[in-house]
């Protein structure tokens, strides 16, 4: 029983991390219609910056702030310098460019910060809460992660549903030309979308790193599972990203604990295929578009 509870809890913790990452993907997809394969590498980069700061100031929170700020700048910069120059309607071009960024940034990170393992401090305790005479696999740090994901989720929902900026961002993503005719500064909206998404991505990067190890490729599994989670939930839906992330975390933890770690990627594939066969647009997508 305790094993089950603890497996579930670690799964939830890991799921929250996937969710955070998936939220960044959803944000960028909704605001620019690009799947950012470089998200992980960008987050790794900002996490390294945060690590430098944490090591010199000793404060996790200052490190987080630096990560968020540098994420904002990095996202905006990447959009301005690179992504913007990919022609419109060049879906594959955008994919390749973000893949190229992914490869280049990861390599740059190992050049600048070395390829070795480094540890990243946690914001709070790493010991599970004792309940009676057992300890459950829920730590103060995990609570912070879960809280951060909830805040981001609410923020995104509010942004897209209730604010004019959110509406303008979506309009820019869907149809830049029409949006410009309506006075929307599409370029600025796309930059903003990338900046915010990179901010959320950096948050995810720091949360994943906290209380664990960092190396240039430390985001790789998270990239895959986070992307799968976002697709599972429906790339347009922040709620879907969170549900997808948590589901992935829990399912994969159960498979690891009770079936075998080598089947984890297969389990992820099975879940994804099962969902997409029934709902090709993910769990929380709106109804399929009218085609004719």
């Amino acid at each position: 029983m305790l094993q089950f509870v603890n497996t579930l809890l670690t799964g939830l913790g890991q799921g929250a991390v996937y969710a955070a990452f998936a939220l960044a993907l959803v944000l960028i997809w909704r605001s620019t219609r690009v799947v950012n394969f470089a998200q992980g590498a960008m987050a790794a980069f900002t996490t390294y910056l945060a690590l430098l700061v944490v090591e010199s100031t000793g404060s996790w929170w200052v490190g987080l702030l630096v990560a968020l700020a540098s994420g904002l700048v990095l996202g905006a910069g990447v959009e301005r310098v690179v992504v913007r120059r990919v022609g419109p309607h060049n879906e594959l071009g955008a994919v390749i460019v973000t893949l190229g960024l992914f490869v280049a940034l990861q390599a740059l990170a190992s050049i600048l910060f070395s390829a070795q393992f480094r540890s990243f401090p946690a914001p709070a305790g790493l010991e599970g809460f004792p309940i009676g005479d057992v300890t459950i696999a829920l730590t103060p740090s995990m609570l912070i992660t879960i809280g951060a994901v909830a805040v981001v989720l609410l923020g995104l929902v509010a942004l897209f549903r209730f604010t004019d900026v959110g509406l303008r961002m979506r309009a820019s993503a869907f149809d830049g030309e029409v949006a410009r005719l309506l006075g929307v500064p599409v370029g600025r909206m796309l930059t903003l979308g990338w900046a915010l998404a990179a901010l959320v991505g950096s948050l995810a990067g720091v949360l994943i790193a906290s209380g664990s190890l960092v190396w240039p490729a430390y985001m790789d599994t998270v990239i895959v599972n986070g992307f799968v989670a976002a697709v599972l939930g429906g790339l347009d839906s922040p709620g879907g990203a969170v549900v997808g992330g948590l589901a992935m975390g829990v399912i994969l933890a159960l498979v690891t604990g009770y079936v075998g770690a080598d089947l984890v990627p297969l389990a992820a594939l099975a879940v994804l295929v099962a969902v997409l066969l029934v709902r090709p647009q993910g769990l929380f997508a709106r109804t399929a578009a009218r085609r004719v």
Partner: protein, 379 residues
């Protein structure tokens, strides 16, 4: 093998409007065989001659690089058909290559001849392709990318799970075939060169590649290729023209999977190993980038893209080393430069190498036309 998949003017068609196509082009058109097969076979022959020249004029290390390039080219050609002609993105072709490589690892030790093994590898992978393609046929864009990505990550896990049969993490050793006597004799007769194993493998790889390219070029020029492109451009209109979208998509996936399987078989004998770590997501991504770098939808582009995959990283590493970097630093430089090149190609030459050259050529020979962007349509 320079066979653009793009629509080429058919012999005897109405003259293209615009300026005179130039004397050379006219001559070329006159000399071109009428039958598709003859035309493609001629190109294949030319390609074969180029391959023989290249392999005989270069040393064993270049030979081994050409062998490596051959399997990238085969897989990239299959992917370019899928992505360029049918509009489906796949991040899972690396895993399909694994199927071919493991087929090699299982069949060759059992004494199955190389060619038979390659045919079986293509066949088995095609069957896997049918399954994956069927699951993927309703998916689009990022959803397709996500599903194939999950496939690419998951499939190598099978090899670890069934480690009894598939050798687990350390994989299956693939016995490398030796050049048969008559072959070495023939090569010696032609060029007075000995046949190293690297050279023999390169010959195997490129022969397979040329056959695969010939078949793909045939398909692309036939109604099948046209229908793939139609489905890519407008699903609804294609459906109304009587095309069954799912079946066409699955067919494209299957053909492209068969190529990946073939490439995997060649990879198996060239690398002499089929192991899960050889088929990470990095391989799938490399294939996709090769396709785009060369020029989407063009078989020749696939060759160029795979050349870049093979020749760029060592060149960068050596450049870094000669510039005084340590071995570790110059090794880290290679992926950095590779990523940067990817970005630059998309930004500066979005049509890939072939697309850009073709656009230049068009701009010079015919009345220049804007990229075929749709006019503001009416709905």
């Amino acid at each position: 093998m320079a066979t653009p998949v793009r629509p080429t003017e058919k012999a005897g068609s109405a003259p293209r409007s615009g300026r005179e196509p130039g004397r050379w082009a006219a001559l070329a058109a006159r000399l071109r065989p009428r039958a598709t097969f003859a035309r493609h076979a001629l190109l294949a022959l030319v390609a074969l001659v180029v391959v023989v020249l290249l392999l005989e004029l270069t040393g064993p290390f270049r030979n081994s690089q050409f062998a490596t390039m051959s399997y990238y080219a085969i897989a990239a050609a299959g992917l370019t058909v899928l992505t360029g002609l049918n509009g489906q993105i796949s991040l899972g072709h690396g895993a399909l290559m694994a199927v071919g490589a493991y087929t090699a690892g299982l069949l060759l030790p059992a004494g199955i001849p190389l060619l038979v093994m390659l045919v079986i590898a293509a066949g088995i992978t095609a069957v896997v392709g049918v399954i994956v393609g069927a699951a993927a046929s309703r998916l689009k864009g990022p959803y397709l990318a996500g599903a194939t990505l999950a496939f690419a990550v998951a499939l190598p896990g099978l090899a670890i799970h069934f480690d009894e049969a598939l050798g687990g993490e350390q994989g299956l050793a693939v016995p490398s075939p030796r050049a048969p006597g008559w072959f070495a004799d023939a090569v010696y007769f032609l060029s007075a060169n000995e046949t190293s194993s690297a050279k023999f493998l390169a010959y195997v790889g490129w022969t397979v590649a040329i056959v695969a390219f010939l078949l793909l070029a045939n398909l692309a020029a036939s109604r099948i290729g046209r229908i793939w492109r139609a489905v890519r451009d407008d699903e609804v209109a294609a459906e109304l023209a009587g095309i069954r979208l799912s079946r066409v998509r699955v067919l494209a996936f299957t053909v492209s999977a068969a190529c990946a399987g073939l490439a995997g078989g060649v990879l198996g004998v060239v690398v002499r190993l089929a192991a899960p770590t050889g088929f990470t997501i990095v391989l799938s991504i490399s294939l996709l980038t090769a396709v785009v770098l060369g020029g989407l939808g063009s078989l020749f582009g696939a060759v160029l893209g795979s050349a870049l995959l093979v020749f760029l990283p060592p060149a960068v590493t050596n450049l870094g080393a000669s510039a005084g970097l340590t071995d570790v630093q110059s090794a880290q430089l290679a992926p950095f430069v590779y990523g940067a090149v990817l970005i630059l190609v998309i930004l500066l030459a979005p049509g890939g190498v072939v697309g850009t050259v073709r656009a230049r050529w068009h701009a010079r020979t015919t009345a220049p036309a804007e990229a075929p962007e749709e006019r503001t349509g009416r709905s």
